[in-house]
Amino acid sequence: MELNTMDNSPLTTNNERSEATNYDSKQFVVFRVANEEYGVDIKMITTIERIMGIARVPKTPAYIKGVINLRGEVIPVICLREKFDLPSVEYSEDTRIVIFKIEDSAVGIIVDSVAEVIQLTEDDIEKISSFTNSKISEHLMGVGKLENRIITLLNLEKIVLQ
């Protein structure tokens, strides 16, 4: 499913229905950064926006790209590539800003593209052990397995607040 159609609309509206059908499963929004697939619990996400003008804020870490105006609200945005020490690329047609709420304040993350919404049950999620040692692992909640895909589940709170 392409998510382009869902720009500007809260994703959480679909949530209740699917939850009613399957109590054990959770929905995750899947997006891509540098050919890897990441997932975030859909309940945390408010909207997904196309890339827009970002005002740089001085004296901040490099991964904080600046602030955007989202319908009158000033929201800081974080570049996931910078955060994960990946090489930066030009923004493209597919680049999205995923807006979510943490401790009542909105934050956006820049991702290469948003792919789809998937359902994972408890069984599909593997808790992370010490199988990776990269910088990324500290931001993880677990790894989701869907057919033969591996989806890294992010702990957004850790990413934003560290």
Binding site: V57, P58, T60, V67, V74, P76, S105, V160
Partner: protein, 693 residues
Amino acid sequence: MDMGQYLEIFIEESKEHLQRMNECLLQLEKETNDIGTINELFRVAHTLKGMSGTMGYSKMATLTHDLEDVLDGFRSAKLFITPETLDLLFKCLDALENYVENIVNTGNEGDDDYKELIDALSLVAEGKPITEAKQNTVIKPETNTTVVPQIEDAGQLIIKYNEYDKNVIQKANEQGMNVFKIDIILDKGCLLKAARAFIIFQILERYSEIIKASPSVEDIEDEKFDFSFTVVVITEQAKKVLEQELNSVAEVNEVVIKPVIAEQISISDSHESTGQNPTQADVKVNEIKVETSNATTPKNIDASTAKSKKTGKTVRVDIDRLDILMNLVSELIIIKNGFEDLDGMSKANTYNESLEYLERVTTNLHDAVMKVRMVPVETVFNRFPRLIRDLSKDLNKDIELVMSGEETELDRTVIDEIGDPLIHILRNSADHGLESQKARIEAGKSQTGHIYLRAYQDGNNVVIEVEDDGQGINVEKVRNKIVERGLLSEDIAQNLADRDIIDYLFKPSFSTADKITDVSGRGVGLDVVKTKIETLGGVVEVDTEMGKGSKFIIRLPLTLAIIQALLVLIGKEKYAIPLNSIKEIININEEDIKQVQKQEVMLLRNMVIPIVRLDKILDVPNRDETNGKKQLTVVIVKKGDKLSGFVVDSLIGQQETVIKSLGKILSGIKCIAGATILGDGNVALIIDVNSLA
């Protein structure tokens, strides 16, 4: 019954009443005999008693009740006000404030029952015998002493008649109607006296017309009587009928009905109603006695209610709702800015008209909303007379506080925060600023020290000044202290301007006081003052002259939400500089910039002004350094009365900007005060002049 929903109202109203009480007490200290003030006090105490009782705060109710007793004594001239009793009243006020404070914090009035105050109050209430009253210059008629009607001598109940009453009674007599004076004594076990009195009134009204009552009808309804009261009625019925009817009411102990004859009524002199000079107006005709002090009460109550109306009815608005309204206005302004940015393609009149209209609407809406948020500084100032009074006692100095501009309005959020800094400064002025009485006389000054507290509006700022006519700040002493504490080397300290030396007073834990007093000198204070005022977007300055006094000047922004700003371009980025901190904008040549100890400076009309290169401070990327031009645009900003020059690439223009916070995650960035949204939807950061200048 759940009183939770009333709690907020109770707290707000209690605070208002306590404030009123405070003002009255201060007034009373000046004019001990002002019966109007005493009545007002009594009324306030009574209201507080009722309110706290209803809310179930029994300790508070007990204290106010005892307070009321004493005040009633003053009111009826049974007791006289002495400095000691006033102190006691002030202490009671503090205790009541503590109760309210406790209720605010915990929802509970607390455990302290202020036994010693209650004891003292009851001592005062009893301890002033009638004999003392007689010693007063005013010779009071004997009857005045019986304020609270005694049950034993019901016949002594007193009623005051005026000319009009007498005429009415005379007419009634002429028409063959009966005029009776009825003393009603209730059973001592009667619980709801007011209710019982109401039933009696109902019965009486069925048969007669009540023309007079003692205590007044209002007081009776408020249960402000002991167990008996007196009414005068005109009726066609015989005495017996009334007697029978009244005796049938439960809990009525005794009814004494006596006829009143007009010729036997004496009329009290007109000037008695001043309450100051009761004359020997009582005549013992028919057991009718004239009661002066009590009869003045209704009149004074009228006066005090009129006064209380003047103190202003407040509308309490949930601040959250106001903020929503505020946000809406912000949106409107953003839309307006969007309009302005539209290219003038459609120059049709309608476009301009609607744009102007929108502008007018937004301006009005902005004003209206701001007004709702505005509160007069009076709400902060009115606690200071008491503060100064206490300080003057503690420090044994004669201090007079002169306040002006109390009606100046400030944003509610600022008002809430400005109290503590002002208290610090006032204490400072009283303790360090003003000399001791002896020193003042030696210096040829008046014994009474003055502190002037002024507020006024100055453009987009509100200025609050605290000025004293004391000794002023000893700059040399501060300079020595700086060196002593190793903050600066001697050479540097000697070369610093006085103004910069005084700035050190605002550094943390810096105190020049030789000894620490209770009031101040611990070195905490002025730095807190400064921090607080800066977080409110304001500045503090000090003006001082040795031997003449010092002046603390606080400048605060009128509003915190919408400001006029100058948009500038630095590199490719747009920044906003608040207009009220901009002094002027000039163009200079690159070579006009000189170096002083690695700090770039420029000369502006013979003033040395430090230069701040915003592109460097803000790390603006990809910027062509020289830009090929020799001319630099410098925005001269003022912080207090220090100037500095901000170098920018170019100016965009002036715009009304809505300040938005950068949010929790980006908080704590020093050079940025917030963000604003431009007409094209992009974000521009607002430069924090205070931290950069």
